[in-house]
Amino acid sequence: MAALRARKGLLPWALLAPGLVFLGVFFLVPLYYMAEVSLKEGSLEEGYRLTWAFDNYTNAISDFSEQFIRSFVYGGTATAAALLIAYPLAYAIAFQGGRWRNALLLAVIAPFFTTYLIRTLSWQTILDDASPTVDFMRTVGLIADDGRLLQTSGSVIAGITYNFLPFMILPLYASLERIDKRMLEAGYDLYASRREVFRRVTLPLSMPGVVAGSLLTFIPSVGDFINAEFLGTSNQTMIGNVIQSRYLVVTDYPTAAALSFILMLIILVLVLIWARVAGTEALMGAEAK
């Protein structure tokens, strides 16, 4: 009997083991190697030596603070914009979609079945100086006659917002759809106005979706470099662009590794603060209870 119970206790670990080992070797161990690289000195030609060069970190921060700040500003703005676009959309589909709900949801995420890079190139086409969009906006006077949309902060932020929108819409929709409609009716029966019902019933109940959605959008937004690459100029460079070029073009591995760590650390701290404020439940699958 005891042996049987012991075997039962091991069963979950037996199921977990292959995946945990894989993630350990190819997610945790790489982080260790990156930590080591970030403390080295040297160059690709001469080779790198571990000298515990902690100034790699201070130099990385002082040299690239501008890109760091820009990344968080762009990422934050894009996340806020995505929330503003996605919440009413998810709300409309969940509460007014009727029998078209699944079809509408499919239409919402359909754009993301095309390749990410090509979607971004498509925005390049739409925002290009010679495009009908810019023509129209110049005629209407929304932008100056020599004004442009492409290669501005606006175009980069718009691109990021667009590209990570499904990460916002899906969790929002999931949490809104799960709301028991009788709760809302109870609110109305108690003479709550529509606004009150929204503020005191719908919004609190959809908070897990807001929390999860903003995190899932914010994280890739901050680390992105494709949108800045295709829709911006060197004035819109983000930290992802710097890491990418330090690693793959300049082969300055120690700086690139230090930058990656700083980025990861800041994001992790922000995520934990956010989780503390909003409750971890929505985050790490406490729904599994």
């Binding site: 199921l15 499919l106 095309t114 994280i219 990418q244």
Partner: protein
Amino acid sequence: MEAATPSMPRAQPDSRPRVARLGRRALDLALKGYAGLALLYLLVPIVVIIAFSFNDTESRYNFVWDGFTLDYWKDPFGFQGLGEAMQHSLVIAGLSTIAATVLGTMMALALVRYQFRGRSPVNFFIFLPLASPEVVLGASLLSLFLSVGVALGFTTVLIAHIMFNVSFVVVTVRSRLIGFDRNLEEAAQDLGASGLQTFRLVTLPLIAPGVLAGALLAFALSIDDFVITFFNNGSYSTFPLFVFTQAQRQIPPNINVVATMIFLVTLAAMAATVLQQRRAERMAEMRPDDL
């Protein structure tokens, strides 16, 4: 009762509810309008992508509309290197989906079905890759491969794709497994089914929709991945990498044709699962007396 209170004032035909109703309708309409605009914003780039696959372009960059042609649809892979890149993408996506789905489903089963010490740390550990930006995942894997001296290519790309897919599969399958009725398994065993039979005949059919959803997500993520692949590919090109390289030289409409094809296939697969899901839900709602 009514006779006893004759002086009770009758409810005034209040105009407020009507105003409220009108306001409500206006709000509903505004909401629908806003949602419609948002939907438009989402779909315009796709329309542009599809339209420009028919563009008889004269420039090297397929940005300006020059007229209609079917040439690129007749020979989608007629551009040097495109066919090979697409083939690589399919192989990597197929293999990484299988591996990540098996690993992820096992983990999800363990997390949903068993109470055990260490479940929260495991949950947190699985969540970590999802909380790391892709550049960091790509860069750290590259650090490992460089330090250990592994040549970049097919294997490193495959490892990278399995790695970033596992957590996504766990999260997807786990959310679908909640509410899983373990009594059904116990019933099977009471009826004399072996452990393996129970899994094959009861557990697997029940979790299949969740597993399928996880696998589909993994496939879509893999075939679309650029950043992590870019760090670890060596000279092994996939479709997104091909697009990136071409973006600096020449963008043939063939790229749009292939993108449209990927779009249509994924859309069809998703639509099929949604329909299948709905049928499964209807079946699940059926009671024995309905039969």
